[in-house]
């Protein structure tokens, strides 16, 4: 216990442990973002996180909780708008993403007595990871991994062919909501690592890198987790030795791995 305590007292190790926890769930969820073409959707949710932060300051609830609730509400609104087909999805996402970000910034400006680090929110503040943050990350990760394990077949089936899945008795609508809930959780906990502006990168770059080497969906998820962990470790080391900002360093490392894999692998299997 003493050793664990000592490790958790060191900010670098806390950052690493927290980062690896996020990579563990960003891998599988990132695969779904890539498979279902939801990159822009992820971006929108991430942008709305700032609004969630402002709201949680306003009614004094834990920041993570505020972000999760805001993201869930926004995704439900989004699905409803999408059904009405009044606007193309990308237009809708563009409107919601930037409006949520702007409303969040404006709302925060009305709270001058609250001190917060805007740069940290936008680009991550990995090295300020607290023990409470670690609890949130591993609690969230446990929930997400459990949901993924239970609903894996249905999620994959509805990703491959939604109507076929429906005919086979998969609760497609319910699974879509569960997927959005999982995104909201991962955004709330990953915000600390890479910031709201870079979360989508942490989701899609490792997954896209993994695609090049994977022959089946499960392999792709495993590889995406691996590349995510690599990005976290590499980014943190880079930040440590070169004194670069941690969040962007993680994304840069992920991007380097992506370039390396796509440059060297001859062709994608399967």
């Amino acid at each position: 216990m003493l050793i664990i305590d000592a490790i958790l007292n060191d900010f670098f190790w806390r950052a690493l442990i927290g980062g690896l926890g996020v990579a563990l769930v960003a891998g599988p969820l990132g695969c779904f973002v890539v498979w279902r073409r939801m990159a822009y959707f992820g971006d929108t949710l991430a942008h709305s996180a700032l609004l969630g932060i402002a709201l949680s300051f306003l009614i004094s609830v834990p920041m993570n909780l505020g972000v999760i609730v805001t993201c869930v509400v926004l995704s439900v609104v989004l699905v409803m708008f999408q059904r009405s087909r009044a606007l193309a999805t990308d237009t809708l996402l563009g409107i919601l993403a930037h409006s949520a970000l702007a409303i969040g910034l404006v709302a925060l400006s009305f709270m001058p007595d609250i001190r917060f680090d805007l740069t940290g929110l936008l680009f991550g503040d990995l090295l300020a990871m607290s023990r409470t943050d670690l609890l949130w990350i591993y609690g969230g990760a446990a929930i997400i991994l459990a949901l993924l394990a239970v609903f894996w077949r249905g999620l994959l089936m509805s990703t491959i062919h939604e109507e076929l899945a429906k005919v086979e008795g998969v609760q497609v609508e319910r699974l879509r909501l569960i997927l959005m809930l999982m995104f909201s959780i991962v955004i709330a906990v990953a915000m600390k690592i890479v910031g709201v502006l870079l979360i989508t990168a942490l989701l899609i770059i490792p997954a896209a890198t993994a695609r090049r080497l994977a022959g089946n969906p499960e392999q792709m998820v495993g590889l995406a987790i691996g590349f995510g962990c690599l990005a976290i470790t590499g980014g943190l080391s880079m930040s440590w030795f070169l004194d670069t900002p941690a969040g962007p360093s993680v994304v840069v490392t992920a991007f380097c791995a992506f370039l390396l894999v796509y440059g060297s692998a001859r062709r994608a299997p399967a």
């Binding site: 890539v34 498979w35 279902r36 073409r37 077949r153 994959l156 089936m157 990703t159 491959i160 062919h161 109507e163 076929l164 429906k166 005919v167 086979e168 896209a208 695609r211 994977a214 022959g215 089946n216 969906p217 392999q219 792709m220 994608a268 299997p269 399967a270």
Partner: protein, 260 residues
């Protein structure tokens, strides 16, 4: 022995006042092969979706036999290029054992592709994979939405033959939608001509003379179908002794050629 698998009564589907399927009465029996034909926008796919339970009817009723398993073969399988998936993986997602999956792939003639990537299959192979996937669920009712799309003409004939054989083997009902009038007429038991409402229905040999059918598809199509159908019966010896006289059509030979 007749056993109603699905019973539609006055089934109506409307989108914002626009009636797409209009008061359709239909009973699908075990052992039936029913083909729905009709012009574009006739509501064929919507009708199928209502039977599959994907589309809620606006009015009327649709009842399935209790405990009925439906095997659905969708029009396309367009897989995201980013999703790596093998034929084996796709089949196993049905929840059946590998042996059952292998067996079903064998029935549709694509068992040699079990380790192939779904991305590398041709149009015809994909349709056969989807069919195998539907069979894995041991369906009582097989529903196919334009199964021959993207399949070349010889492949289409083979596919319809396969569907007939599967019906005989599994003793299931078959409902399909099709555009390929000629082949449908040859392969099906009963044709339903849909144009929002059922404008006519019956056996292929009769329907091509139906005034409503001629109205919907035009006289040239109806006539060519009549010719084709008689020819087909003849060449398959279904009515061995019926030799249709006066059918010395110039395309007789080429038809034969295309079909054997």
């Amino acid at each position: 022995m007749s056993e109603a698998l699905a019973t539609l009564q006055q089934l109506t589907v409307a989108f914002d006042e626009r009636v797409v399927v209009d008061r359709v009465d239909l009973v699908i029996q075990r052992g039936d092969i029913i083909t729905v034909i009709g012009p574009n926008g006739a509501g064929k796919t919507t009708l199928i979706k209502a039977i599959l339970g994907i589309q809620k009817p606006t009015k009327g009723s649709m009842a399935l036999q209790t405990g009925l398993t439906i095997g659905y073969v969708p029009q396309h399988l367009t897989l995201e290029p980013t999703l790596p998936l093998s034929v084996r993986g796709f089949m196993l997602l049905s929840g059946q054992s590998l042996n059952v999956c292998r067996d079903c792939l064998g029935k549709t003639g694509v068992d040699h592709l079990i380790n192939a990537s779904v991305h590398h299959l041709s149009g015809g192979e994909k349709q056969r994979l989807l069919l195998a996937r539907a069979l894995a669920r041991k369906p009582d009712l097989l529903v196919l939405d334009e199964p021959a799309q993207g399949v070349d003409i010889n492949g289409q004939a083979a596919l319809y033959d396969l569907i007939r054989n599967l019906r005989d083997e599994l003793n299931c009902g078959v409902l399909m939608v099709s555009h390929d009038l000629h082949l449908v007429m040859a392969a099906t038991d009963k044709v339903i001509c849909l144009n929002q409402h059922i404008c006519c229905s019956g056996y292929p040999a009769d329907i091509s003379h139906d005034p409503a059918f001629i109205d919907t598809f035009g006289r040239p199509v109806a006539e060519s179908l009549a010719v084709y159908h008689h020819h087909h019966n003849h060449s398959h010896d279904l009515h061995g002794d019926v030799v249709v006289k006066g059918q010395g059509h110039p395309d007789h030979g080429s038809c034969d050629h295309a079909h054997h």
